[in-house]
């Protein structure tokens, strides 16, 4: 596949991989960098790790408690938080805009050409990074992905 459009039109979803949160440093947003086995044949370890590490850095920067966040907090309190009617919080700017842009960039350049798609964690409640694995509609390999998931259906 060469781009996202092609991916959506000519591929079918085979499987989804979920990168879980890493809580070892507390409640700050951080994702595990463990490489899932389903992606081994699709993407290089280094590229994947770089994506996750960059995302983790973005989140860490957004949640950092330092001079800028204190300033924002005090200013907001002094105006009884009415200032947020005019401007968005630093966290929002960082998380929603910067990360969305980064993920789109990564999808276009790296993941879509390999038949993968990253979903922004904010759409999954910041719980997981969902990576969808697409198979070309014409290929016969698409059924193998779904068989591993169907094991959970027998209850």
């Amino acid at each position: 596949f060469h781009n996202l459009q092609e991916l959506r039109h000519s591929a079918s979803l085979a499987n989804k991989v979920f990168i879980q949160r890493d809580y070892s440093e507390g409640t700050t947003c951080k994702f595990q960098t463990k490489f899932p086995s389903e992606l081994e044949s699709r993407i290089e370890l280094t590229l994947f790790e770089e994506t996750v590490k960059t995302l983790n850095n973005f989140y860490a920067e957004a949640e950092k408690i330092g001079g800028q966040s204190y300033l924002e907090g005090c200013l907001a309190c002094a105006t009884a938080y009415l200032i947020f009617l005019c401007m968005e919080t630093r966290y929002e700017k960082q998380v929603l805009k910067k990360i969305a842009k980064y993920i789109q960039e990564q999808n276009e350049k790296i993941y879509a050409p390999r038949g993968l798609l990253i979903t922004d964690p904010i759409e999954r409640g910041m719980r997981v990074i969902e990576i969808s694995i697409y198979e070309d509609r014409g290929s016969s390999g698409s059924s193998s992905g779904s068989s591993s998931v169907s094991g959970s259906t027998a209850r």
Partner: protein, 401 residues
Amino acid sequence: MSQIQHAVPDAPIRYTQICTRSSSCSSPQTSSSAAAAGTEPPSCTGHRGRTPRRKWQVFPGRNRFYCDGRVMMARQTGVFYLTLVLILLTSGLFFAFDCPYLASNLSPAIPAVGAVLFVFVMGMLFRASFSDPGVLPRATPDEAADLERQIDSTGCSKPPPRTREVLINGQTVKLKYCFTCKIFRPPRASHCSLCDNCVERFDHHCPWVGNCVGRRNYRFFYLFILSLSFLTIFIFAFVITHVVLRSNRTGFLTTLKDSPVVVCFFSVWSIVGLSGFHTYLISSNQTTNEDIKGTWSKKEGKDNYNPYSYGNVLTNCCAALCGPLPPSLIDRRGLIQADTPQTAHQSNGTGGGSYAPTQLHSHMVGGYHPGWLQHGGGTSCQFCCFHAAKISFVPLTFYIY
């Protein structure tokens, strides 16, 4: 039982709206926003075949939404209106009866300061009551299936363990699985049984504020009770001054009956006590939930300590009050699009289809709405004013759900 579909088909899926006990049936519509949305407001019975426009209309929790999803509160809002009435009445009486005398005889700054405090109190109250406390959205069917697979792969014949252990700053913390939301709760999150949502950094459910108190509105709640303490002390002090000054001329009892002293007297102790209690919680970086359960108390074990505390009282306070304010995770006003698959560059409005099937599946799965034990127990403090009994004189009455 087959509960999850494991591959999203490429054809657009149409999910019919199910009228559940969630707020989509009971929430009132404002006529202006309904007109702006351009569709007829969804009614309870005629839902089938009518696709809802915004995500709050299919929200699975027990919340009420107003102003087209901008305002989010708990189901029971009666006590919130009582809070409003008490504050407005007390302040109103103060401004009407005491301020004219005080402004002319003492200083016009008194009603000015009172007005500023009053506006701040109301602002904080509205912010605490109307904002999203940090609700965690429920897992999508794919996520839930993936988790189930992981859980089942570890167990054999016995029921598989629904907990995960994590090491946080050297302290072992158990993450519990929430059967309603189908997720492993992040640390410090808890499921509120009144609102039927998992809330991040869950403090307690406050009926006086009409909402849960969690990560996103804790500072507003704290500033509300703090400023309310100042306001009640302020009003109390100046009313007493007024009464004393007046009673030199007229009788003591005549002046007293015009003043909101009685209401002030009782609320001062409870509110001040509650503020003190929450100041202690903030300085030690604990939630009410953790404090009540004694999660980090030394009685649990000698090595038990709070891994979230920064070690320094000032840093803890600054982190709680001046830390960054995270955005809402539930995207109440996003439009539901059930036909497009998930793409990364659509920041809002996608994934709407995930709510309807989650709702569908939670009804198919059925009875996973157990009581206290399986939910892990959300703490609901019925009378959170009296909750400050540890350091105030008012008797403690609270229930743990």
